[in-house]
């Protein structure tokens, strides 16, 4: 496979074989030393073979080998003649990140950090399976799946401000609970308000450095301030939605004798019954995830109230923004000089709409959409803002995180979970986890330095650096 360097941080895979469009990868030269990079680039090329793919199969600088799409993959499909692929969304539908600001400074929080982390651990269940904070009666989960965070607002568990500062207002359109299997509903019933396992986390962080004062001001962010970052998705509900549809679509392709480059790229033509059913169920899973992160925000508020003795309103525990990074959305973009509806798949990529876009909340519209980029638990995370360049080049998309460098197995061989915990605590980071073994898999050295990833998207203009955040306390899934 040929890969041409066409800019300092931009690479192109010219179309060959069944590729309908080129591949375009935004990356640091270091990508080519990374294990698994050939497989990841092959996946970029595979996505370029899908019917109706427009302009290019794109990958962000946190690209790594996934299944179906590469992690970090972005592709927009033509509403006419294009497809939707569950492999372009993944099993953890609407996995995403939410950033919460507080009115407290690191100096106020540090002395109470241990009890705060313990309280957060008590309130937010971690690991696979355990029960979330919300109990749902017959029929209520279906409502939540169709109405997302707005359902919680009706129950007094979300404010209008929370909804306004969530992508899609916390409600993905087109959700129909009738398209969701009983199995998915069963898995989801007890999981609203739970973190999950793997790379999911809840961190208490401090704003270490503000790069763009104007944008930070609009986002309510200032140096020294304590913020909370929540990374989680649609839990078993979303996993089951993807499992259900993928088996059907791959089976249908096998029956029709269609050769897919990867069965995880199984897809259905937009407008077909099969596609409509998936999109209706996917929207439900998106809503589940918005509600899941909202419930955890409520628990964060409760924990701050308990530890800092005041109402969350007085403590200023407010949502900055909530972004999805595994999703397929209908959006209007410019294609060949005209505005057209396309289906943008983001698999490990974040929406990054620029200033002035009507989908950016009014109070942020002048500076662009907030983009939240979690790093690893030892170093740093970032708050960015969307740009006009992203609208032109990447369907308004940017990176989503640091990207893995070491496999979980390789990471475990470097150090034990107990050693990783000691190192983090040595650096002043308070750690809480249900799985010390899992800590080894998620150790800082298992990830690329997020500063490199953010450096690339900032340099090529896909988003703008606003603030750097440093972990104080980590709750690992």
């Amino acid at each position: 496979m040929r890969v041409d360097r066409i800019g300092e941080f931009v690479y192109e895979i010219p179309p060959e074989g069944a590729m309908r469009v080129p591949g375009r990868v935004y990356a640091h030269a270091g990508l080519f030393d990374q294990a698994g990079h050939e497989e990841a680039l092959r996946q970029v090329a595979n996505v370029a073979t899908l019917p109706g793919v427009l302009k290019a199969s794109i990958a962000m600088p946190d690209i790594h080998w996934g299944y179906g799409f590469p992690i970090g993959g972005v592709a927009a499909m033509d509403e006419a003649g294009g497809v939707v692929s569950p492999g372009g969304v993944g099993f953890d539908i609407n996995c995403g990140v939410r950033l919460v600001r507080t009115g407290l400074d690191a100096v106020d929080v540090r002395p109470r950090l241990e009890p705060l982390m313990s309280e957060l651990m008590r309130r937010v269940p971690q690991g696979s399976g355990p029960h979330g904070a919300l109990r749902l009666k017959e029929g209520e989960l279906e409502r939540l799946a169709e109405e997302g965070a707005a359902y919680l607002a009706r129950r007094g568990l979300a404010t209008p401000d929370d909804l306004a500062h969530t992508e899609e207002g916390g409600v993905m359109p087109g959700a129909d609970a009738a398209a969701v299997s009983q199995k998915a509903l069963e898995r989801g019933r007890t999981q609203v308000g739970s973190l999950g396992s793997g790379n999911h986390f809840l961190e208490v962080q401090m704003v270490e450095d503000v790069i763009d004062r104007r944008a930070a001001g609009a986002f309510g962010i200032r140096a020294g301030q304590v913020v909370v970052m929540i990374h989680s998705g649609s839990r078993g509900f979303g996993h089951q939605v993807c499992t259900d549809v993928l088996g059907r679509m791959a089976g249908a392709a096998a029956r029709a004798g269609i050769e897919l480059p990867d069965r995880q790229l199984a897809c259905a033509p937009l407008g077909s019954h099969e596609a409509d059913q998936y999109l209706a169920a996917m929207a439900c899973a998106c809503n589940f995830a918005f509600a899941n992160r909202q419930m955890m925000l409520q628990e964060v508020r409760g924990a701050f109230e308990q530890v800092f003795h005041g109402s969350w309103e007085r403590l200023g525990v407010e949502l900055v923004y909530d972004v999805a990074h595994n999703i397929a959305k209908r959006e209007v973009h410019e294609v060949g000089g005209e505005r057209r509806a396309v289906r943008v798949h983001r698999k490990g990529a974040t929406r990054a709409f620029g200033p002035g876009h009507p989908d950016v909340p009014e109070d942020y519209r002048e500076v662009g959409q907030p983009v939240i980029i979690p790093g690893d638990m030892g170093r740093e995370s970032w708050l960015l803002a969307g740009t006009e360049t992203a609208m032109r080049e990447t369907w308004g998309s940017t990176c989503h995180g640091a990207g893995r460098l070491l496999s979980r197995h390789a990471a475990r061989k470097v150090r034990s979970g107990a050693e990783v915990r000691r190192e983090l605590e040595g650096a002043g980071i308070v750690v809480r986890t249900a799985s010390v073994g899992g800590l080894a898999e998620e150790a800082p050295y298992a990830y690329k330095d997020v500063a490199d990833v953010v450096g690339v998207v900032d340099a090529v203009g896909l988003s703008r650096k606003v603030a750097r955040l440093r972990p104080l306390g980590v709750l690992k899934g």
Binding site: F91, G129, C242, S435, G437, G477
Partner: protein, 137 residues
């Protein structure tokens, strides 16, 4: 080398290589590999039995469906499964009885989101069967 499984490195996920003299044993090894990543059984509690019946278009899709079904049982019934009795296995259909214990004071090993179809395979090679499944973790 006659029957077993091996975990294979993959950047973000975990691959599982499976082998055995029969397809049934490959399915059983897949289940054991999966639960080695989910939760080790203590085997002290009351046992519970669940019957599984599945259909898929091809036998390898059936392998992925089988593992996903076990994850569904783990999450909804809260059962740590450790015995997998494949009672019927055809090209498109599986029937099995699985045994587990209620999730209690177990140490969770992490978690698996799903069995993916990426590089999924199952084939007969001479006198034994081989399979591969990539798990999203």
């Amino acid at each position: 080398m006659s029957v077993g499984y091996e975990l294979v490195d993959h950047t973000a996920d975990i691959g599982v290589r499976l082998w055995g003299p029969t397809a049934e044993e490959v399915f059983e090894q897949g289940a054991l590999a999966l639960f080695s990543l989910v939760c080790d059984p203590l085997q002290i509690d009351d046992l519970e039995t669940v019957d599984v019946e599945l259909e898929a278009e091809t036998m390898d899709l059936l392998l992925a469906a089988w593992l996903n079904e076990l994850l569904y049982i783990f999450e909804t019934r809260r059962l740590v499964l450790f015995q997998f009795d494949i009672r019927e296995l055809g090209e498109r259909r599986l029937r099995a009885r699985v045994v587990g214990e209620p999730l209690g004071r177990h140490v969770l090993c992490g978690g698996v989101k799903a069995a993916t179809l990426h590089e999924l395979s199952l084939e007969r090679r001479g006198d034994h069967w081989e399979g591969f499944v990539l798990l999203d973790v």
